[in-house]
Structure formats: C-alpha cells, structure tokens
C-alpha cells in the first residue's frame, strides 16, 4: 500500500471507530433506555469544542480568533474534559427535556435545543469562534512522534481503537447488568417499571447523561484527528444519520450499532462517491440521499428490529436445575396499610369518596363491587399511580399519599395491573429478575463492577425465579420474550414479577382475569402462602370464588364508597350487598 492509500484506509477506520463510539452512546440512550435523543449531534459537538479549547493555547492577541478557556492541557485531559462537558450538558438539557412523558415530545424538545445551541454557537463568536469555528488544533503527541505520513494515522487509529474498546466494554457491562435490565424494562413499559421502583425520569436522565458523555468523547476524538471544528460539521440533520445507523444495525445491540456505523456512515456515505456520475453532481447527491430515506423505510417495514436484533438474554441455563427451593415468602413480614378518607374525582364525578380501611400483616383482603365502583382507582391511589384529592395512605408509619409510584413501591407496596403490563422485549425470566430489589449490579456504579460483583445475588434470585416458574408451570418459557406469550401467561408473569419484588403490601388488580381455572388454583395457593408468611394483601377481583378462597375479609365498594366489610359468607347474607350487585 502506498502511504496515501494507507492514510485513506486508516482514516476510514478512525471514522468507523469514532462513529461506532457515537452509535454505542446513542444505542445506550435509545436502544437500551428508550430516550429519543434528537439532540445527539449536539453532544458530539460539545465534546469536540471542549477538547479543542482545552488543547489549544490561549488565543493569541491580534489573531482574529476568539474562544473560551485555551488551557493547553496535555493529552488525554482534554478528552476527560469533553466527557465531563457532555455529561453536564446532558444533565442540564435532560432535566427539562425529559419532563414530558411522551417520548416524541421529549424528542421535539431536544431537537429544538439542538437548533438553539447551533444558533448560539454560530452567533456567539467569543465561545468557539462563531461560524468559522476552531482550527489548527494540535493532534495528540504529533510533535513528539516521527511516524511519517501514514504512520501517525495508524498510531491514532490505535488510540481510537483503545477508546472504542473501552467504550464497548463499558456499554456492554452496563447493558448486560441488572441495571441494564432495569433500563430495558423501563424502555418497554415505563409505567410498570415505575410500579416496581424505577424512577423513570431519574433513570432516563442517568442514561442520557452517560450517552452524552460517550458522544462527547467521540466528538473529542474526531476533532483531535481532523484538527478543526465548526458549525458546518454538526448540522441538525446529522443526528438522524446516527439514528438510521442504529435502527438499521439493530436497536439494543452493540454489534448492530457497530454494523450500522459501518453500513450507513462507512459504506453508504462513502460508496456512492465511487459510483459513476449521473446527471449533475447535485442530482446525483440528491438521489443518493433519497435512497437513504428509502433504505430507512425498507428496514422499518421488513426488518424493524434491524440487521442484528437485540440479543436475547437467555438466562435459564443459569437456573439451578433440580430441587427448586420452596417458593419465596416475603423476606420481611408485611406492613400495616391504613387508608383514611381517601378521595379522588374525575371531571366532577367522585370516583373514590372518603374510603377508609386498615389492612394488617398476614391478612388478605378482597375488594369487590360492581363495575365503576372505584376499586381500581382506589388501588391506583394507594400505589401512587394517581394522586389523591384528599385523604391519607399510611404504610407502616409513613403517609405516602401523593408520593410518586416508584417511591411508594420502594416501601414494598407492589401493584399489579388490570391490563397486562409485561416488559415485552425481556424474557420471562428477565421480567422476574427486573423486579427484584437489592441487586448489587442494579445501579450505574454496581453495573460497572462487573459480573463477579452481582452474580452471587443473581444466582439467589435465579433460584427463586426457578421455583416460581416451576410452580406456575412456565419453566419451559423462561427464555421466551414476554411479549410473545398468551394473555393468560402474561398475567402469570406479572404476578410472578410482583412476587419477586419482595412485597410487604401486595395490591392485585384482577389477577385472575383471563387465567384458566387450574392456574387460578395455583395462584390462589401462592397468595395464601404469602398471606400466611405475613404479607399484607389487597385484591380487586371479579372472580368471587377466588376471593372467597384467598381473602379473610372482603371490602365491598359501590359508587366510590365502602359499602360493607366482612367475610364472603357474611356479605352473601347481607341484603345491602346483594342489592349492590343486583340493584346497584
């Protein structure tokens, strides 16, 4: 190879590595965490700018160039600065852009932020020299190495490869850890994740910040290689190229993201320039760009999961094979739940009207009543999914009325959903593991410490999960995606998931709906055992035979109020209750 060819090859590989790093960052945010970062290019750019101004010496007087800092730091400090700046910017932007619940709203806000930033950087000449940008940024060690024309490019490729390897290692660790599982669960169903103790906004912000830092590092490396950076290098549209890359490559799969970077940035954007010219240069470029659009449509239609779909985390092989331990009881005894004067109205209608009751540990209470009586609403009010208009919800000694659902659930108040709410792209086993609290790897820091740090605890949990699966006769489906199960099976997954969450107070919203009679008995058996183990349980259920078999006492609600309380037998002879059902 001639030196020029070597340079070219090395350059392409450097770009591939840099873009892969960026794609891994975006994949972490969007593919794993579900955060639709339409400001992505902004983070690459802030990294590039900060690296530049930390590398450059202070702007010399008389030279028509102005920029902040100019600290002239030795390598690799500028890159560290870039990572910090990317993280800080993401923290600032994410703290408000992640406020709307709808992800496309979040995306719009980020797009807007990206445009505001581009306008400001272009017009504020004092920051990064405005529209002209920065140039003559020295390459790391370039003065001290004598490697010849292409030699330096290979050297730099080596540097970038090290960074890429570190980022890959790092993102793989995060994705594969219990924390990564929590993020994927949040991506699949934010509401359910919240009910299991995930602070959706906080976790989204974390993954946004980490992705921002990674993007910034990619920008820093790029600017160190090319030696110049200006607003022309980061048009808002470039964000979409990264999105195309990870969607085509495969969301949630780091190899897919790498492949997407190769395909879209490497092959697709480089390859057309080798094609023979057709028409004017402008027409040709337009046709190529339009072809990218068609490529996106084709992929979204025929292969929405990408070339390399998200890897299935098949964990069943780690489950203990024989002699499952007895099903888990709650690790601590239950807690008293007392509700007083709980009220909530919707558009003038009192859905829940001054409801009061107290549930003791070791008891199971049924909550029944005709449709529209306010049972599910009451459950949601207790769990924090709805904010009560008045009243108290005391868990142990803490009034949690008005708390966010994930905070309530961290006190051990675990709720199941009336409509199934499985994490569709997690396996059944992962659904169970995602709910278990107290995992050492279930935090950013913990996930970084690696498998050895969190595997012992995961083994315990796997054993628990194995026992549950065996009980519910779902062992065969442990590695199946929860989204592929039938309605009844999904219901079971949800119940098992709630049991894995070590509840102290379990709130069940129609757990028997869509479950066949045999399995109902299994569920009932479990619930009874949990109750006997000291758990506090409240169950909304239409299947009154199940209520009778599981619950010690039953609360009847009608029109938002508590109508009566007693055992099922007592209620059956209570005229008022029968009338509530028969008359209303």
């Amino acid at each position: 190879m001639s030196p020029a060819l070597q340079s070219y090859v090395a350059t392409l590989l450097v770009y591939l590595a840099v873009n892969s790093i960026a794609c891994w960052g975006l994949n972490l945010q969007f593919g794993v965490g579900g955060v639709m970062n339409f400001a992505f290019i902004l983070y690459q750019s802030i990294g590039a700018y900060i690296t530049a101004v930390l590398t450059l010496p202070r702007a010399a007087p008389g030279v028509p160039e102005t920029y902040i800092l100019g600290w002239h730091l030795p390598w690799p400090l500028p890159l560290a600065g870039a990572a910090v700046s990317g993280a800080l910017l993401a923290l600032a932007v994410g703290s408000f852009a992640l406020r709307p619940r709808r992800r496309d709203f979040q995306a719009t806000v980020m797009l807007v932020v990206s445009i505001i930033a581009a306008t400001l950087v272009t017009s504020e000449q004092g920051w990064f020299n405005g529209g002209q940008g920065l140039f003559a940024i020295p390459q790391p060690f370039s003065g001290r190495l004598n490697l010849g024309i292409s030699g330096y490019d290979w050297f730099f490729l080596g540097l970038v490869a090290v960074f890429a390897a570190v980022v890959l290692f790092f993102t793989d660790r995060l994705t594969g850890s219990p924390w990564g599982r929590r993020l994927r669960a949040m991506r699949d169903n934010a509401e359910a994740a919240e009910s299991l103790g995930t602070g959706v906004r906080t976790e989204s912000l974390k993954v946004y910040v980490i992705g921002g830092a990674i993007a910034a590092v990619s920008g820093g490396l790029l600017v160190e290689f090319i030696g110049a950076w200006s607003p022309a290098a980061w048009g808002t549209g470039e964000t979409f190229i990264f999105f195309v890359a990870i969607i085509v490559g495969g969301l949630g799969n780091n190899f897919g993201a790498f492949f997407g970077a190769l395909l879209v940035l490497g092959v697709f954007l480089e390859l057309p320039t080798f094609l023979p010219t057709i028409g004017s240069s402008n027409t040709e470029e337009s046709v190529q760009a339009a072809a990218i659009g068609v490529l996106i449509l084709i992929f979204l239609w025929w292969r929405p999961q990408g070339v390399f779909p998200e890897r299935k985390h098949a964990l069943s092989r780690f489950m203990p094979a024989a002699a499952p331990e007895p099903a888990p009881g709650p690790s601590q005894p239950g807690t008293t739940l007392s509700v007083s004067d709980l009220s909530r109205d919707f558009g003038g209608v009192r859905a829940v009207d001054k409801v009061s009751f107290e549930l003791l540990p070791g008891t199971a209470t049924g909550l029944i009543g005709p449709n529209g009586a306010g049972k599910s609403t009451a459950l949601k009010l207790i769990a924090g999914a709805l904010k009560p208009a008045a009243g108290q919800v005391v868990v142990g000694a803490v009034n949690v009325a008005g708390w966010a659902p994930h905070k309530v659930s961290r006190l051990g108040v675990i709720r199941t959903f009336q409509h199934t709410s499985e994490f569709a792209r997690l396996t059944v086993l992962e659904n169970l593991l995602a709910a278990a609290p107290g995992q050492p790897g279930d935090s950013f820091g913990g996930s970084l410490l690696g498998r050895r740090h969190w595997r012992p605890r995961q083994r315990e949990l796997l054993a628990q999960a194995a026992a549950l699966l065996a009980d519910f006769q779902l062992t065969e489906l442990a590695d199946e995606y929860a989204g592929r199960l039938s309605g009844g099976q999904r219901r079971l997954v949800e119940i098992m998931r709630a049991l894995m969450a070590q509840p102290k107070i379990l709130l069940l919203d129609e757990p028997m709906a869509g479950v066949n009679p045999t399995l109902r008995l299994t569920i009932e058996e479990h619930l009874r055992r949990l109750r006997d183990g000291g758990l506090t349980m409240l169950m909304v259920e239409h299947e009154l035979s199940s209520v009778e078999r599981v619950c010690d006492s039953v609360i009847v609600m009608a029109q938002g109020r508590v109508l009566a309380t007693g055992t099922m037998a007592e209620l059956r002879s209570n005229k008022e209750v029968v009338d509530a059902y028969l008359v209303g």
């Binding site: 005709p370 309605g487 009844g488 059902y581 209303g584």
Partner: protein
C-alpha cells in the same frame, strides 16, 4: 327514514346462534344462543366477567365472531364492520365512553343521525328532544362535562336518532346512583319498547332490569346458564348465588 327491519315486520329482529367470540385466540364466550323479537326488551344478566360485554361486541361487529352466526332479520352481521351494522338500523349505547366528550350534546345527537339524510337530521333531533325534554337545557354542554345520568341519557337519545330496529345497551345504569338509574330504566328505556324498537340490554341491576324486561338470559363463565321470562328469572331463589360466588344455578 331508512327502511327498518321493524317496519318490514320480520318477527325475530336478532337471532344469535352458537356464537363463540373472544380476544386473542381463546374464546371468552362459547355456544351462545339468543333471540330478540320485535318490540321486546331482552336483558342479559350475569356476574362480572361472565362474557356479557363480549357478546355485545360480537353482535355489534367490534370483534369478529369465531363461530356461530349473528342474524339481523335474515342478514348475517358476522362479516360487517360496526359502521356498516349501524347503517342496518342498529343503535348502541356503550357502557363507558358513551358520548363524544368534546362534542356538545346537540352535536352528539347529530352524530347519532350521521347515517340519516342531511335534511332529516334536524327534524329528528327535535323529535328526540321531545322524547327527552331535559336535553334541551343541556344542548350546548360538552359531552365530557355531563353527569353520569345525563351522559347516559344523551347516549340513549343519540342511539335513538336513527329510530333503530334494534337498540343495544351495555349496562346503562353502571355507575349511576339508584335514583337516576331507576329513572333511566323506568322512564326512558321501558317506554322505548312501546315505539316498536327491540332492545338487547346487559344489566347488573337485576331486579330493576327484570321489572321492565320481557325475557332474560343469565350468563356465567362465558355461557348462557339460564333463559326464561323476566319475572321467572327474578323469582329464582338462587339468583344471588349466581352473582356472588357460584358458577351456575343449582
């Protein structure tokens, strides 16, 4: 006025035979037979989860039957969408989401007459308003800002816009206080039968519903477990058990 089957004088307005339906691949209801004759009020009773709503949805074309037939007169409804079924003179009052929340009461009624010729709508609105005089006062209110009873009345009036041959009501009194529920059943629904419309109603308030019904079907576990004249059904001593914990009558 569309030619309604009622006017054609076909005896059985609705005939359901061997119907199975549900969500996904498992049927929620199986082997349901049911008829509604002209001018008759037929009520389907049963505890929650018995499959009553599923039955109605299958009749109305919201979900496709898995087996069996649904005949309106001699017309098979099984392959039709709900807007097409409406055009065959079937009115529907859903249990929840029964009015267009951001349309006014007047507009709700007009939408009820969507399938009527344009010119006929105004006269028909007036006629329906005469039927339910309280609606005049509410005409300009938005559907979402009504009380439960008012909303149900609007939904009923809206369904009456097309002078349906068959009117399907899904738990019309659910969520209503006893007084408005009684008014709704006795003053509004009961009187409809006299106008020649056939009614198929799902209801939880068995006693009151029976008092205005001609016949009743009791469903449990996705099947019809009891079928008789309304007064006979109400007289069954074991009715309470059907609702509160047993899966079938003794």
């Amino acid at each position: 006025m569309p030619t309604s089957l009622a006017e054609e004088g076909i005896r059985a307005t609705l005939t359901v035979e061997g119907l199975a339906a549900g969500y996904g691949d498992t049927p929620t209801i199986t082997d349901v037979d049911l008829t509604v004759h002209r001018g008759e009020i037929v009520t389907v009773l049963g505890p929650n989860g018995a499959g009553k709503s599923t039955l109605l949805k299958a009749v109305l074309g919201v979900i496709r039957p898995m087996a069996g037939s649904v005949l309106l007169g001699d017309r098979d409804l099984a392959a039709l969408r709900s807007d097409q079924i409406c055009r065959l003179s079937v009115g529907y009052v859903p249990q929840v989401r029964d009015t267009f929340p951001r349309l006014t009461v007047l507009e709700n009624l007009e939408m009820g007459g969507y399938t009527l010729p344009r010119k006929a709508v105004k006269a028909r609105v007036e006629a329906v308003m005469e039927l339910y005089p309280q609606l005049k006062r509410l005409a300009a209110r938005q559907g979402g800002h009504l009380s439960g009873g008012e909303r149900k009345m609007v939904a009923l009036a809206r369904a009456m816009m097309i002078s349906p041959a068959l009117l399907v009501l899904d738990e019309p009194t659910a969520g209503l206080a006893p007084q408005p529920a009684a008014t709704l059943l006795n003053d509004y629904i009961a009187t409809l039968a006299g106008t020649g419309v056939s009614l198929l109603m799902v209801e939880q308030r068995a006693k009151e519903a029976m008092s205005i019904s001609d016949r009743a079907y009791v469903m449990a576990g996705g099947r019809v477990v009891l079928h008789d004249r309304a007064d006979a059904v109400l007289a069954r001593p074991d009715l309470g058990e059907v609702f509160l914990g047993r899966t079938g009558p003794g």
